[in-house]
Symmetry: C2
C-alpha cells in the first residue's frame, strides 16, 4: 500500500500522468490509483486532476504525514507545532512503553542540550527525538549518539552542506559552526537499557541571528531546505546504522573533523590534551598525549591549533 502510494508520488514528481498510465506503470488497477491519490490529498499533498491526468502541485513541507509518507524506516511520528522539549515528551512515551516513535516539532520553547544547557529551537528548525529500545548495555549507547551524528551529517551533505563531525557528536559547518545538537538520554539496568531517547536538533530554516554566535543554520549556509525530506533522510540513515552498528565508526571516521587534530578534552575528572589519533567502539576517543595514549569515553572536546 505505502509502496504504491510512494510510487504514485514519485511518478507525479516527474510530471503529470494519467490514471491509466500510472496504473500500468505500477501494476495496479485505475481504482487503486484513484484511492492512493485521494489518500495523498488527505495527507496534505496538493494534486490537480484534469484532461492531462494527475498533476502534483505541492507537497506538505513538514508534519507527521509528510515525514511518515517519505519514511522507509519503521518509525511512527507524533508532530507538535510547538512543544517544550521533544526529548521530555519522548521520555514520557518511553516510560509508557513506546518504541520506534519520533516526536517532531517546528518549535521547542524549552529545548535542552547536554548537561542541561539551553538549546535555542525557533520555529523553522527540525527538532525531533527518537524512542528506541535496543538490547544494549548502557556502556554501548554512545554508538547510538555517533550514529545520529553520522546520519545527520550525511543527510546535510546530500543537500549541499559542508558538514563534518567533531567528537563525539557535534555536526559542524565548514567554518566550524554548530549546525546540529544531539542529546542522548537513557534509562535501564547496569547491563541493559530499557530505553534510549536520541534527540536531534537541526538549525534548518532559521535565521542565523536566532541561534548563538558559535552556531549557524542551513538557511545561512545553503538556503532553506525541504524539512520533511531531510527528516526522512536522517531517520532512514539512522535506522540503517542502528541495524548495522559495525558500519557506524567507518562512516564516522570519514566525516570526522577531530581525528588528526590537537584537542583538549574536559572529562568530569580531568583535562586531556594531545592529538586525536583514533576512535574505537563504542565511541571512545584515543588521544596521544606527551605521556602516552589515553582513552576517553565522554567529555567536551575542543579543537586546538597545532602545537
Amino acid at each position: 500500500m505505502q509502496e504504491t502510494r510512494r510510487g504514485v508520488l514519485s511518478a507525479l514528481a516527474d510530471g503529470p500522468m494519467s490514471g491509466p498510465e500510472l496504473a500500468d506503470d505500477l501494476g495496479v488497477s485505475r481504482a487503486a490509483i484513484w484511492k492512493h491519490v485521494e489518500a495523498l490529498r488527505e495527507a496534505g499533498f496538493e494534486i490537480d486532476s484534469d484532461d492531462g491526468g494527475y498533476r502534483l502541485v505541492s507537497v506538505p513541507e513538514f508534519g507527521a504525514e509528510a515525514v511518515e509518507f517519505c519514511l522507509e524506516a519503521p518509525f511512527s511520528v507524533e508532530y507538535h507545532d510547538s512543544i517544550a522539549s521533544t526529548n521530555d515528551r519522548a521520555r514520557e512515551l518511553a516510560d509508557a512503553g513506546a518504541t520506534d516513535v519520533v516526536v517532531l516539532a517546528d518549535e521547542q520553547t524549552g529545548g535542552r542540550g547536554r548537561l542541561d544547557r539551553r538549546w535555542a529551537s525557533p520555529s523553522g528548525g527540525i527538532w525531533f527525538s527518537v524512542v528506541c529500545r535496543p538490547a544494549l548495555p548502557p556502556a554501548h549507547v554512545p554508538i547510538y549518539t555517533l550514529a545520529a551524528a553520522v546520519a545527520t551529517a550525511e543527510a546535510l551533505r546530500s543537500v549541499g552542506v559542508d558538514a563534518g563531525i567533531k567528537w563525539p557528536n557535534d555536526v559542524l559547518s565548514g567554518e566550524g559552526r554548530k549546525l546540529v545538537g544531539i542529546l542522548t538520554e537513557m534509562e535501564g539496568e547496569a547491563d541493559r537499557v530499557s530505553w534510549v531517547v536520541v534527540g536531534i536538533g537541526i538549525n534548518a530554516n532559521v535565521d542565523a541571528g536566532a541561534v548563538p554566535r558559535t552556531a549557524t543554520t542551513l538557511r545561512a549556509e545553503v538556503g532553506d531546505v525541504e524539512r520533511a525530506a531531510l527528516t526522512c533522510d536522517v531517520l532512514d540513515r539512522f535506522d540503517e546504522l542502528r541495524a548495522d552498528p559495525d558500519s557506524v565508526l567507518p562512516r564516522w571516521r570519514s566525516l570526522s573533523l577531530t581525528l588528526g587534530r590537537r584537542v583538549r578534552v574536559e572529562t568530569p575528572v580531568e583535562t586531556i590534551v594531545g592529538e586525536a589519533v583514533a576512535v574505537e567502539h563504542p565511541g571512545t576517543l584515543v588521544v596521544q598525549t606527551d605521556t602516552g595514549e589515553r582513552r576517553v569515553s565522554a567529555g567536551d572536546c575542543e579543537h586546538l591549533r597545532p602545537a
Copy 2:
C-alpha cells in the same frame, strides 16, 4: 555529637560505666553524657541506670535509627517494615532529586532482580537501595555494581560466611548458592548519569525454605546476624569503595569465584565459552576462548566444569 554518642555506646558495650567515668573517658560534661544516653534510649537502645552507672541492655535490631546510628558513611536512611520494592522507592526519590539516601526494608512484597526477574524478599532479610549521583558516564556504572558486590561479600566474611563473587555481582556461599542479589539501575545522558540506584538484597535472617533452591540464607549458613550492624558494614564499605574506584577491582579479584574458571557467558547477542582470565575496568570480563580473547561487559555467567 554523633561521634560522642557512638563513644558512649561503644563504652557501654564493654560493660556498665558510671556517668562521671563516661564523661572523663570521652572528655565531655556529665550533663552531655546524660543527654546522649537519653537520645540513645529514644533511638531504641535500652539502657538501664542504677548505682553502678549506665548499663546497655539491648540495641535495636533493625530500622532507620539503628542503621543511622552505627553508620560512618553520610547516608540518611528511610525505613519501611514492608514495601513493594526498595529500588522503585529509591527511583522515585532519585527522580525527585535525592542523593545519598538509603531505602531499607524488612520485607519486599514485589522485589525485583535483574531483567525483571522476581526476587523473594521475606521478612527478616536485609533489603535496601542506595541513591547516588556520581559524576560518571553510564559506561562506568558497572564499577558501582562490582563495588556493591565487594562491600557485601567482605561484610559477610566478617560475620563468618564463606562468601565469594561470581562475575559480575552474584555473592555466593561456599557451595555456590546465592546469598545476595544486586540490581543497579540508572538514568542519564549518554556521557553522564543523573542518578544511580544500587539495590542490594541479602538473604539474612530468613529460613532457607523461603528462598529459591539455588539460593541460601545467612540463617542457614551461620545463624541469625545483627542486621543493623551488617547493613552499616556494607554501606560503610560501599562508601569507601566509591570514593576510591581504583580499589574496587583488586578487592573484587581477591573475592572472585570466576577467575580461572571455565565459564559460559550469555550476552544479549551471543554465547561465549572459555576460561575467565581477567577482569578489567569498569568490570569487563576477559574470556580466553578457542579462537582468542573476548571482552564481555554484560551478561549472565555460568561456571562450568573444567573441559
